[in-house]
């Protein structure tokens, strides 16, 4: 068994979806009445599914046989030597379709099938969740429509082609800023009209209750596997676990198994874009401004009227002006520390990991590598020689080569030099 989807932690939501309680906490279900019945049914269906051993066994089998899980926990020796701590990489980049996201869509699509619905919809930013959703829909024989901002369909033509090849309909969304948040709005509008036969495969551990809990339960296998692997292969728990945070699914997927291990430090790294002080970033938690976006109370990038401010990051997967509500609570409660990594720091780490280990990471994951590089000295100081940092290498970098070519000038004669 690779996932512990039925297990709970001290940081779970209550039955209304509040992390940390209604008065001081985050989450909830801020949605049109038209969707309430569907959200309540989804919650009930999930409670039933995760308590059903047959469902859990089927999910495990699909993850194993189709998605290539559990992913390895790999001791990155050359990076370890450079940082002076032991670095363990959770190799989610080796999963089918190249990232942790396959877990989320297979879990939600399996639940869709159990609920008797025949169509799935999804939003996508750069296209990774869209490709994963189209993959899961093909696997389960479901109809699939993916909403994607017009700006994103224009700059991610390869992923649009992949989705179409997999049989999905891709709908470009021109409204608003034409990016991820607008794709979410449009997917919600579809869902309001199609909810009787359609499931919304939400792409991250955010949105209205039960999505933050549902997605977390489904992706928590990342940490469940890593925790067992660390103990069995490396003799104990890591001293620190590290992940990048956009909407927050890869991070909550890793963190959940360690939340009640009080001795394990947990660090989340948001996208700092041009630098937090420039205002051009996606460091939502660091901005520390609570609001309601896409169905949940959480931290939001917004102006004084409550209008959403566009986020900025070189990583499309982290480029989101909100964050999953459980992360907001983990930040406020002090259990997890969140800081940000600039585009430059992330791209330096992207190059470093490629050369030190022969692994080209997703730029999202490069934020986690950069974060680990940053905290390595203090982790070593706190925990001594042999201190261990476990990093979620949430996806591979093939999809980011266009960005890398441009950033490093790889197509130029001065190949390989940073800009």
């Amino acid at each position: 068994m690779t996932t512990h989807i039925h297990e709970t932690t001290s940081y779970d939501a209550d039955e209304f979806g509040w992390f940390g309680g209604e008065a001081e906490g985050f989450g909830g279900r801020f949605m049109p009445e038209a969707l309430m019945k569907a959200l309540i049914e989804l919650d009930e269906a999930w409670q039933g599914a995760k308590a059903d051993p047959a469902f859990v066994a089927e999910f495990d089998a699909i993850l194993r046989d189709y998605a290539n899980l559990p992913s390895p926990l790999y001791h990155a020796t050359r990076l370890s030597d450079q940082l002076g701590v032991r670095v363990l990489l959770k190799r989610e980049d080796l999963n089918h379709t190249g990232a942790h996201k396959i877990r989320n869509v297979l879990g939600q699509a399996l639940l869709t099938k159990r609920m008797g619905k025949t169509r799935v919809i999804a939003e996508t930013g750069a296209g990774q969740h869209g490709v994963a959703s189209a993959t899961a829909a093909a696997y389960f024989g479901l109809d699939c429509t993916v909403y994607m901002g017009k700006v994103d369909t224009d700059r991610q033509a390869l992923n649009v082609a992949r989705m179409r090849l997999l049989g999905a309909e891709v709908v470009p969304v021109p409204s608003g800023s034409g990016t991820l948040k607008d794709a979410i709005n449009e997917a919600l509008r579809d869902w309001v009209a199609s909810v009787d036969h359609t499931a919304y495969l939400f792409g991250t551990a955010a949105g209205p209750h039960p999505f933050p809990t549902l997605v977390r339960d489904i992706v928590r296998g990342i940490g469940d596997e890593a925790r067992v692997q660390a103990i069995e292969q490396f003799g104990g728990l890591p001293n620190a676990v590290v992940a990048a945070v956009g909407g927050g699914s890869n991070a909550i997927g890793l963190f959940t198994a360690f939340l009640d291990d009080e001795d394990v430090e947990i660090h989340g790294f948001e996208a700092g874009g041009d630098g937090f002080e420039t205002g051009r970033h996606a460091a939502t938690i660091q901005a520390n401004d609570p609001g309601v976006l896409h169905g949940a109370r959480t931290y939001v990038l917004q102006d004084e009227d409550g209008q959403t401010i566009e986020s900025h990051s070189i990583s499309a997967g982290l480029d989101y002006p909100g964050v999953g509500p459980q992360h907001a609570w983990l930040a406020k409660s002090g259990r997890v520390s969140y800081t940000s990594i600039t585009d430059k720091e992330a791209m330096d780490a992207f190059a470093l990991l490629s050369r030190a280990e022969g692994i080209i990471p997703a730029i999202e994951s490069a934020h986690a590598i950069a974060g680990a590089i940053k905290i390595a000295p203090e982790v070593k100081e706190r925990h001594g020689e042999g201190a261990t940092i476990l990093i979620n290498l949430s996806g591979r970098g093939d999809k980011d080569m266009g960005t890398a070519i441009e950033y490093f000038g790889l197509g130029d004669s001065k190949q390989g030099e940073a800009q």
């Binding site: 279900r29 009445e33 038209a34 019945k37 409204s175 607008d182 009787d196 009227d305 409550g306």
Partner: protein, 269 residues
């Protein structure tokens, strides 16, 4: 003034009330005041003023287009209160329809006070339900402001009971499963929903039921007026302004004639 006053007047005249919507700041702040005033003069009984928000979920393409124009024009929350003040001064009950975050950001109590100070009747809140709006319920109750929540064809009896118990002024029944927008045919889901809502509303309150989403002409309004207390029209007004964007006088004239058509419709039950 509560919208219930306008509903009572319509009922006394054995007709439905006509509720008209436009977003504040569309095409401009002054332009929206002129347009809404024209709609009042031509026969709207109640006005809903939309607060433009960057990430609306329930708005269809027509209203999104107008809201985006308003935002691009730099409309602010304080401008919305200015429009409320001007429209409420005509004597018709004037509501604000808004996504939740702008209220949350300003502070629920402060927003409620500013709305009351501007002469607003209350709020329509399409993306929040009473079970997640305790602060708004408290702020509205303290000031006797209208709290208009939505019910939908998908709502369970239990949720309609819960929702209508928290409404003041009227309850907004969304006639179709879907976002806003004019439709060629009215929905066959509307009449059963209105009947169910009336049956489940708190006894003795006679809470009016307004029906919205999809109405674009007098004939459709008459159809709905047969069973609803109020007919709510939004996208058709917005469409009229969008279609006449180059000529303000023509736009106001078209708006007035659409309003008259709809006003005749709600009287033809």
């Amino acid at each position: 003034m509560s919208t219930s006053v306008a509903y009572a007047k319509a009922k006394a005249e054995n007709r439905a009330a006509l509720v008209g919507y436009l977003p504040a700041g569309f095409p401009t702040v002054e332009g929206s005041i002129d347009a809404l005033t024209t709609m009042v003069e031509a026969g709207c009984d109640i006005i809903e003023i939309g607060l433009p928000y960057s990430d609306p979920v329930m708005d269809g393409p027509t209203i999104q287009d107008a809201v985006q124009q308003a935002l691009d024009g730099g409309v602010r929350v304080d401008d919305v209160f200015r429009v409320v003040e001007a429209v409420a001064a005509t004597g018709v009950p004037t509501l604000v329809m808004t996504s939740w975050n702008p209220i949350d950001r300003r502070g629920v109590d402060r927003f409620a006070q500013q709305l009351q100070d501007a002469g607003g009747s209350g709020l329509i809140t399409p993306d929040i339900t009473p079970d997640f709006a305790p602060e708004w319920i408290e702020a509205a109750d303290a000031r006797d402001l209208d709290k208009v929540f939505l019910v939908a064809p998908s709502s369970t009896d239990e949720r309609i009971t819960m929702t209508t118990a928290q409404c003041r002024g009227f309850v907004y029944a969304t006639a179709v499963m879907g976002v806003t927008g004019a439709r060629a045919k009215t929905s066959d889901l509307a009449a059963p929903l209105v009947a169910r809502t009336k049956r489940l509303s708190p006894a003795g309150t006679d809470l009016p039921v307004g029906v919205g989403l999809g109405v674009s002409n007098g004939a459709q309004a008459a159809e709905m007026a047969a069973y609803a207390d109020g007919v709510i029209v939004g996208s058709a007004f917005v469409r009229t302004l969008l279609d006449n964007r180059s000529d303000e006088q023509a736009a106001l004239k078209a708006l007035a004639s659409l309003t008259e058509d709809l006003a005749a419709g709600v009287r033809a039950r």
